[in-house]
Every structure is written in C-alpha cells, then in structure tokens.
C-alpha cells in the first residue's frame, strides 16, 4: 500500500504534466536539434520541439515550457499567454510544463532568466518570451513556404493553422521542419495592445484545477523510495554556535536514524545563502524526527548578539537619529538651512517606525535531495530553481550536469524564497550525503519564522517646512535601517524607495540614512522598501497637507502636476473612490500612493473605529497603473492579495525580538489577517500604455496601510506612526 502511493519517477512526471503545458522550437540562443530526446526527470516532450520554449504534438497541442516558478502569481499562465499571443494558437490548445533547469544551466542558459521575483516576469521578460512565440511562428511559416514553393510573406499563421493561396495545414505538420530553420532576422514582437488578440483578455489561471483536489505537487509533498525525514533546529540567535547536543538520549526512539550537525558554510556571508549552525535529527517519518529533536538536549552559545532586543535597537536608533547620516539624495538648496530659518509654526516633524516582519509563506521551508551514483535530484521551493541546482552541486562537489531540479508548485514565497534562500537546500544535500539516503528536510513553523530572512526594520524622522500656499518648501529625512551586514545585503534602494524617489515636487530636499549592522538576517519582502517607506511618507504627506490646510487628495494631485502616470492614477482615484474628509467621528477615509516595481498605485481606504478603538477596514479601492496589463483577472487577484498581505503586517504583525531571538514564532502569536477581517477590495486600472511596463505582484500592498492609517486619523484624531497599528490605543470620545 505504502509503496503504491510513493511518488515514483513515472507518477511525478504525470503530476507535473497535470499542471498543464506543451512544447515547440525557437532559436534565440542558437539552433537546437528539432527533436530533443526526452531526458529522465525532465518535462515530457511528446511533441516536436520548435524551440526551447515550446513543442507541438501531432494533435496540435502546444506545450509551453515555463522557466519560472509558480508561487500563485500566475507564472504558468502569463508565460503561456505571452507565447501564445505571438505563436497564434487557440488558448485551449495550450498546456504548460516547468522547463528543464539542468538543460538551462548546462546548455547556455537559453531561458535567459529563471528567477521569479520583483514583479518582473511580465514587466521585464515579456520581450524575450514573446520573441520565442514570434520566432516559432515565423519558422513554421517558413517551413510551409518551402514545402509549398512560395515566399514566407505569402503564408499566414493564425490560430494554429498555416495557410496560403487556398492551401492550409495545421502547425503540427511543419513543426519538425520549423525546428531546424534558422531565420535571417528575428521577427518583431507585437508592442501595440491594438494588435493583441489574447493579451489583455481576462484569463483563468491554468494551475487552478489541480489546486482544488489535493493533486498539486509542492516540494514538501515529495516522497521517494527509501526516503528519510529530517527535522532541523538552528541556533535561535542567528550566527550563534551549537555548543553541544546529546543524541544518545533519543537514539533509541522509534524510527530514529541519525543526528547530523549542521555548520555554517565558511565564507558565505550573504544572509540568504548562509546555512546557520544547528542540528538535525533524521528518522523514518517527520513526526518521529521532530519529536526526537524536541526531546534531545541541545545547548547553544548565543554569543554577543544574545542581548539584542527590539528595545536595544530602538535605543540605538534614537541616538543615531540625532547624528548625521550618509546622504542618499539631495534636491535644490540644503533643506537643513531652510528648515532652520523657517518659523516654528511652519515646520512639521514626526518620527515613524516599522518593525521586523517575516514572510510566513504557508508552505514551511523544506527541501528534498536524493543522491545517486549518476545523478542528484532536488526538490526545493526556491524562487530561482537554477540557483537551487547550482547550490546543491556546490554543496556536494558534483558537476551541474549531474544535478536535476524538479520544479513543482511553491506554497507562497513573497521574496523570502528569492534568488537563493538556499540554506535549506544545502541542509538537505548535506544530510542526504551524510546519511546516504534520499532526505526530506522540513522546517517546523517555529524554525520557518525564526530562521527566515526577515524584512528589515527602520526608524525614520521627517521634517518639512511650508510656504505661504501651504505646500512644502523644504523636506529633510533621516532613517536608521537595521540589516545584517548593513543595507548592502539587500540593496541600498530598499531604504530609499518612496522617500528619495517620492513623486512629490518638493523644491528642496535632503535625505540621510544610517545603515546599521544587526545580526538578524534580512532579505527582500514583497514590495521591499515601498512597504516600509510607503507607510511613513504617505502618512507624513497627510500631515503636511493638513498643516497647510489642503485636502489630502487635492494635495497629491497638486504635488504631482506634470507626472503623467501619477495624474492618471490620482484623477481616476478621485473619480471612483468618493474620498471625503467630511464623515462623522468613528468613520474615516484615507488616501495614499506608492510607486513600486515601476508601477503606480493609489489606494483609498474606508474604516470604522468604535469608541473603544476597535478598527474595521471596510473597503479598499485601488487604482493601478502598470503601463500595460496582459491578464486583468490575474492582475486583480495579485493586487487584492497584496492588500490583504500588507494589512496583515500593518494591523497585526511585528516580530518581537528578545534576547537576540524572536519570541513570536507561530500563528498564535504572529497574527495574520483572516477572512472576517479582510476588507472589500475594488480594483481599477488607469493604464498609461506609453512604452513602459510595471509589475503587478507587489504594488497593491504599499499604499494600503498608509491609506488605512490616514483613515484612522480622520476617524479618531489619532496619528498611528508605527505598526502593528492595532497595538495603539485608538479609542475616542
């Protein structure tokens, strides 16, 4: 029985093809064999490959190979739509499979980009993905033209059919010839939405059906013959050391196989990729491994970081806010001089703070590695599957040609499994090597939160002076950011987003920041920088507007005059949201905007607050401008999801750091938004369609919490300058 249910190579392939998919041949990286022999463990290729991105089978089914991961953001559907648009095949003839990372890594990286982060799949990669479809289409036309003895320009390719002069044939008939054709010149892609027949059409995601019956395969679901399970515990104070553990105390428990010490890899300082010091217990089931691990005596050497807490960081920040920081941006005259000269009643100043937050993707971090003589197989929920392949090769000292990553669905990632986040993959490789059995490592939820690469906290002071017309004359900001190794670990831009890049036309600005080292590993987190800074700059914008006697929405329209993307968003928001400051006490509306991943998004929130201070976010209206949208349904789902995601942190979240370690490490103490609290979300698009492309997976989040905070101010008269907002006393009389 048990063996029947085990995931064999055969059933794995079936489960992956069930995700939808197909195959044809485009030549961007150079000619490939027209027919590629199926390789074990890779995507099935029943059809004929026209290029690396697609194959066509005898029935005309097009299998599109997707090199990105599917984390619920619609990668399978988006890539398929981009290819199908240019290839011109009926949507119901499309299926998708995950592309072969072994081929990508070892055969010239023909998929160009495999990482899936930064709301960039459509935004940045649509040109080469559409090119794949266009190139295949032209090759099919050329193959038909040669067979029919005419010029390619006489052949049309439409909805899977080639035709010319009364003759016609399905694409499948010429797929093999097409795969070996080299074009003298690659065709142009369709840049103008007026030319699109599929892009821009609301389209159901292809991965939905397998996600309603338990058949969708996630890395954590991997089961292999002879597999063992590992539960791991690393030093709860990151970068601390394992002092001792006593395996003898649990060695004889049922099913226990081994204990394996885990050591940080020397020289890897990038916080995403470093494996922390810790210990794993391996057993014949995960529950037995986890139980033995919990019972095994383990001693840690926390090191000097064991005294760091939210309070010590706050005290450090308070001191540094008084000291000159690194100048990260300047506009016009020195804002400090203008502020010093301004009358006190024309100066507004406020301090804001966001704490550490964790990704808490629903699928706990895990990885499975199976080492065989001739090959190594990997299942890992990292956002860049090629990176997972390389890190396993590195950890095991194997040639990348021997390593196969089996891409499956990811149960959420949100930037936390980005690039590498390869620690768990290294752990699985190391443990599998040491115990000599295929090994699945699963982090308990407490480990998933404790050892996550957290969203960095910051403390920011903003000061501005007003002119006679009530609009800002000078603006000065000073921020203190805490990152492992300083802000460089996740890019200085994270600290500057939405502050230095604010859309508001303030004539004189100066921005400073302190990049402070703290031991907690940090990483990108859905809407990095914009989520932290949007909250503070957009509330401060309201503070300035009200101090200058401006309506907050009119202030934003005035302050972005001449900026087309913003004017489009704000005027649409004014038209659809019904924003007003004229509501009875206990009710409020608030607006906010944020630029994130090259998209412009405005939010209007409606809240009610009881006299006792209980907050209800009734509704959030979003107006989104990403330049273009290829799938309005998918984009809307991402935007709405971003609202819920970001409100979770802003209303309920906040990691509590005490004694160098986080103390709220599961969903009983790290609270997330649940259905009864979720607001109604209304989405509007205001698209510039002006040659630039923005992302859709993240930009809906950042403007939402400040819109809610601004609404709370109008409802209660209380300004909420830190999160979680519900920790503040919001009662009113």
């Amino acid at each position: 029985m048990e063996m029947d249910m085990m995931l064999t190579r055969r059933t794995l392939i079936r489960s992956m093809s069930a995700a939808g998919g197909m195959i044809i041949g485009f030549q961007m990286p150079g000619a490939l064999a027209a027919v590629v022999a199926p390789r074990p463990w890779t995507t099935p290729t029943d059809g004929v490959e026209v290029n690396a991105w697609l194959a066509i089978d005898a029935d005309g089914i097009v299998t599109i190979r997707v090199p990105h991961t599917e984390q619920g953001q619609g990668a399978l559907t988006s890539v398929a739509m981009l290819v199908a648009e240019e290839l011109d095949v009926p949507w119901d003839r499309i299926q998708t499979v995950f592309a072969d990372m072994n081929r990508h890594v070892n055969d010239g990286e023909e998929y160009i980009v495999t990482t899936t982060h930064g709301s960039q799949l459509v935004r940045l990669q649509h040109p080469h993905i559409m090119q794949a479809g266009a190139s295949a289409r032209e090759r099919l036309k050329e193959a038909a033209a040669r067979a029919w003895g005419i010029d390619r320009s006489q052949v049309t390719a439409r909805q899977g059919v080639l035709s010319a002069n009364g003759r016609s044939a399905p694409y499948a008939e010429f797929a093999a010839e097409a795969g070996s054709i080299m074009l003298a010149e690659e065709p142009a892609i369709k840049k103008n939405p007026d030319e699109w027949w599929l892009l821009g059409t609301p389209t159901d995601r292809l991965d939905v059906p397998v996600k309603v019956n338990g058949s969708a395969h996630y890395a954590i679901d991997t089961r292999l013959d002879g597999m063992v399970y590992a539960a791991v515990k690393c030093c709860p104070v990151p970068w601390g050391r394992l002092a001792s553990f006593d395996f003898d105390q649990v060695r004889d428990r049922p099913g226990v196989v081994a204990a394996v010490e885990l050591k940080a890899v020397p020289g890897i300082t990038n916080t995403r990729d470093a494996m922390q010091n810790g210990v794993a217990v391996v057993a014949d089931s995960w529950y037995r491994a986890k139980t033995a691990l919990d019972l095994m005596p383990v001693e840690w050497d926390f090191g000097p970081e064991g005294s760091v807490s939210n309070e010590t960081l706050a005290a450090q920040a308070a001191q540094m806010l008084e000291e000159d920081g690194e100048v990260s941006g300047e506009v016009g005259a020195d804002a400090r001089d203008l502020l010093a000269a301004a009358p006190a009643d024309r100066v507004v100043s406020a301090d804001y703070h966001r704490p550490y937050e964790t990704h808490a993707r629903m699928e706990p971090i895990n990885a499975t590695v199976a080492i065989y003589e001739d090959r190594v197989d990997v299942w890992s929920p990292v956002q860049d599957q090629a990176a997972a392949l390389k890190v396993v090769a590195d950890q095991l000292g194997r040639d990348t040609r021997d390593v196969y990553v089996n891409t499956v669905f990811i149960g959420g990632a949100f930037g936390g499994n980005g690039g590498g986040f390869t620690a768990v993959t290294r752990q699985a490789a190391e443990i599998a090597k040491q115990v000599g059995r295929p090994t699945k490592v699963v982090w308990p939820r407490e480990e998933d939160i404790t050892q996550d690469q957290q969203r960095p906290p910051h403390y920011t002071r903003m000061t501005a002076s007003l002119r006679d017309n009530g609009l800002p004359e000078a603006f000065f900001s000073r921020a203190v950011w805490f990152n492992r190794g300083g802000v460089e670990q996740i890019g200085p831009a994270t600290a500057d987003v939405c502050i230095n890049t604010m859309p508001y036309l303030v004539p004189n600005r100066r921005h400073e920041r302190h990049n402070v080292h703290a031991h907690i590993p940090t990483a990108t987190h859905r809407g990095p920088g914009a989520n932290q800074n949007g909250f503070i700059i957009e509330q401060f914008a309201d503070e300035l507007a009200l101090a200058g006697d401006w309506d907050p929405l009119e202030w934003r329209i005035e302050m972005t005059k001449g900026l087309e993307p913003w004017q489009r968003v704000l005027l649409k928001l004014k038209e659809v949201a019904g924003f007003t400051t004229d509501l009875p006490r206990g009710q409020g509306m608030g607006v906010a905007v944020a630029e994130d991943h090259n998209s412009y998004c405005g939010a209007c929130a409606t809240v009610s607050v009881s006299r006792r201070g209980e907050v209800r976010v009734e509704k959030v209206v979003l107006v989104h401008n990403s330049g273009y949208i290829i799938n309005p349904r998918g984009a809307g789902e991402q935007l709405e999801g971003s609202v819920v995601y970001e409100l979770s942190h802003a209303l309920y979240g906040g990691l509590d750091l005490q004694g160098g370690r986080f103390v709220n490490t599961n969903f009983d103490t790290y609270n997330l938004m649940r259905m009864p609290q979720a607001p109604e979300v209304e989405i509007h698009y205001a698209l510039s369609e002006d040659g630039w492309w923005g992302g859709c997976g993240e930009p809906g989040g950042p403007p939402t919490p400040p819109a809610v905070a601004n609404a709370i101010f109008f409802a209660t008269g209380k300004r909420v300058r830190s999160t979680p907002m519900l920790r503040h006393d919001l009662s009113w009389a």
Binding site: D4, G72, P209, K211, V212, G214, H217, E363
Partner: protein
C-alpha cells in the same frame, strides 16, 4: 502500536505511536499529501480533514482518536473534482499558491453540510480558522455561496 484507520472509505492498517498526529499518518505513512502541514498547533487550518463529517485540525488530532471514525481528506471529497465546492473553486479561480486550499475546501464542505445556505457572517465565522497568505478570502466567500447554489441546482 497497530490499529486500523478508515480513510476515504478504505481501511488502512497503521503501526505508529498512538499519539502521532493524524496529519503525519496521512502524509508520511499513507501518502495522501493533499492535506498540508502549516503550523502544527491548530492555528492555520491547512491540515483540515473531516472526522465523521466534522472539521478537525489533523496536526493536533492523535491518530488513535480517529480509530472507528470516518476520515475524509481532500482526496476523498469527490472522485473527480465534481463536488460543488471544487466546481465553484474552479469557476471563481480561488487558489493562488494553493497551499491552504485543501484545508479551506474541507472547512467549507463541513460548513455546507450543516448549513446549506450560509450568510456572509456565517461563512466568516466558519472559515476564520483557515489562513490564506495569498489573500484569496473574498473569492473563497464567493465560491462558497456559488457552491451552495450549485448544490441546489
């Protein structure tokens, strides 16, 4: 300890410690991986299954407590994704990452079996124990209403 569990209508002979959570018997011993591990402390609902039609958190339910009872998992809800909730889930494109959705559907199925026409408030109350990090709540609510319609038609 050996005992028998009835899962989706099939008897399975199990030999594990009796306190082993049902979740791990389903996933690791039987191989029914549609039921997900999320938190291990009955806070997220990803592991929701039915015991005699009642929704339980399998991560916190000892396997021995399920002896003699009908265990239903997402794999046993219907043989062909034809349950009204599954059809409504597809129609409303509810899942995003999909990881929590087995638990969501099982919680919703238990709700509909005791209340065929739930109000928004009743849905919210029944579903409050199921986290979705992707934020699909509004589509879940709409799909439950739609499933109620489908079940009557």
């Amino acid at each position: 300890m050996a005992f028998t569990l009835t899962i989706n209508g099939t008897n399975h002979e199990i030999d594990v410690e009796p306190e082993t959570p049902l979740l791990w018997v389903l996933r690791d011993t039987i191989g029914l991986t549609g039921t997900k591990f999320g938190c291990g402390i009955a806070q997220c609902g990803a592991c929701t299954v039915h015991l005699d039609g009642q929704p339980v958190r399998s991560c916190s339910t000892p396997a021995s407590a399920a002896v003699g009872r009908e265990i239903t998992t997402i794999e046993g809800l219907s043989p062909d994704s034809s349950h009204p909730l599954q059809r409504a889930w597809v129609e409303n494109t509810v899942p995003q990452c999909g990881y929590c959705q087995s638990g969501q559907i099982m919680a919703a199925a238990a709700l509909l079996s005791r209340n065929p026409n739930p109000s928004d408030a009743e849905i919210d109350a029944a579903m409050a124990g199921n986290l979705c990090r992707c934020g699909t709540y509004s589509r879940i609510r709409a799909a439950i209403h739609r499933a109620a319609e489908l079940a009557h038609s």
